[in-house]
Symmetry: C2
Subunit: 194 residues, 2 copies
């Protein structure tokens, strides 16, 4: 049974190996495990692992999704926007947004949604967050859908006071008060941020 054990072990290692670095060819993997390329192919077949090019494509697609979802200027989907007045966006939370050891969504995703919305609602070429006060009222579980609503409370000069409330199924999970500064595109001296 030493043979079979070694096979099982190799396949487990193979999984770990590909998780660490998915962009390895069968050739490289074969060398790494001291077996023939065919053996690696059989292993992949048994484990249902796709070939390197597919793995690359899958990852590439993920990257695009991540890019458009998490790294877009507005995090979450914009559902409503009345410039200078109010806005609403929805964010469906994903496992990648949670802590590694539990299913609680990490605060900066909730903040990111609220902050993006606060910046978006201000009617200006460039708007940056100057300061904020946040309250995380209740923890959010991975999979829950967060609806954030932003309202411009007041405006003095280029300073906008924006209030954001985020809810999950109607229950408030987060509130934040943002001071957003509108800045002319031509003004390069950054004194504030978003």
């Amino acid at each position: 049974m030493a043979r079979r054990l070694s096979k099982e072990l190799r396949q487990k290692e193979l999984l770990r190996e590909l998780e660490m670095d998915p962009l390895q060819t069968d050739e490289a993997l074969a060398q790494r495990f001291g077996v023939s390329v065919q053996t690696i192919r059989l292993d992949r077949l048994e484990l249902g692992l796709p070939e390197m090019r597919e793995r690359a494509r899958d990852l590439a697609e993920q990257a695009q999704q991540i890019r458009s979802m998490l790294i877009s200027d507005l995090i979450g989907e914009l559902e409503h926007l009345e410039l200078g007045k109010s806005a609403r966006s929805a964010l469906t939370t994903e496992p990648s947004m949670g802590f590694a050891r539990n299913t609680i969504v990490r605060g900066h995703y909730i903040f990111a949604q609220a902050n993006s919305l606060a910046v978006a609602v201000v009617d200006a070429e460039t708007a940056l967050t100057a300061s904020a006060r946040l309250r995380f009222v209740r923890s959010v579980r991975v999979g829950e859908r967060i609806v954030a609503e932003a309202n411009v409370v007041s405006q003095k000069g280029n300073k906008h006071l924006v209030r954001v409330v985020s809810r999950v199924r109607g229950e408030t999970v987060f509130t934040g008060t943002f001071i957003i500064v509108a800045r002319a595109e031509s003004d390069p001296t950054g004194r504030e941020r978003a």
Copy 2:
């Protein structure tokens, strides 16, 4: 010159097309533009664009980086950690962290680094952000390296007051005061967040 113009136009379109969806083969692109595959190849050659498989690989590598960098529990690299007392982390900002229209880093990345650090410094199984006050003192440009320092100011029961200051080349760009709540792993009733 209509031909040459059409060529220039096609190459511009090609760039935009591939930016939108990089996972297209020459074949598909040829059909899309109504030209032969060879023409697309020549265009790619002139524009210095890599083949589809390379594009996929590049994206895949990015995805891995994004995964490990932005979606890890601690954003930025931990440079120092004394549990319950202080911590320091560094974050080199990337183009993907900036706004689409300028090179200013968006606030939630700065917050994410600070928030992660504040949570990490608290010596507890699970620590969640309950509330925070933030000040974005100065805008950060893409490429700048942010060093965040967190100090536990006080502790009352399971509530920790953590102060975070983020600097770029010694200059303060962000300050935040976080109230972090430590929670026993066994307590499933989420009343606070991180």
